[in-house]
Subunit: 98 residues, 2 copies
DNA sequence: GCGATCACTTTCCGGCGTGGCAAGTTTTCC
DNA sequence: GGAAAACTTGCCACGCCGGAAAGTGATCGC
């Protein structure tokens, strides 16, 4: 029971990152503007959240060009998928006991 | 989609409180030692977490006696149940989109 | 060519939640 | 009488969160 709590990943638990991971888990990839608009966050905020996910090894980033024309694409990693799955299962284990 | 994020209740989202609410949602009541042991938290920590839930109107407290012999019992409120349900549904909406 | 605009990133920073420790209270058990 | 359970509260340090602002690079419209 309580081990479930330990299975909650703090990096993923933060609402915005949870949503971001969910989107990336279901899509092959997503770019910056898409995520920003879907999550309704600031550029700065999203940039930081994604950096956090990247540092955790949960997503990879691909940048094509810079500035206006550029595209920054995020993709979930195998590790990220596993971590997300694990987190969601822990959530269900906790909340599902109802 | 993003409205789901808004439906996440910060009071409930904190892991320990999420687990506490889940326990209270499935049991008619739970006392202090029980919760403390299940959540594996400190007395002080649990006391504060439960105070937070109480202040939010999500649980009610009943105290019989003081000190060693006393029993502090927590019970989820109708409002708490609704908030919990809503929170869990928001979680599922977010993570289930995968 | 120039200004507006988009796409990000980084720094600064105030604010808030988290959680341990320690101390104090009441009551019961041995 | 002393240990120990059951809580509560204050102090406080630490880290996350997230907005504002400023900066960079590149394209679009006129």
């Amino acid at each position: 029971m309580t081990t479930d709590l330990a299975n909650l990943d703090p990096v993923i638990h933060a609402p915005k990152r949870l949503a971001a991971m969910a989107l990336l888990a279901s899509a092959s990839s997503a770019d910056f503007p898409f995520l920003r608009d879907h999550l309704e966050v600031t550029d700065s905020d999203l940039s930081k959240q994604m950096a956090t996910l990247e540092n955790a090894g949960y997503v990879t980033v691909t940048k094509l060009g810079h500035g206006r024309g550029g595209v920054t694409t995020y993709r979930i990693t195998r590790q990220g998928k596993a971590a997300f799955k694990r987190h969601v299962e822990a959530l269900r284990a906790i909340t599902g006991s109802a």
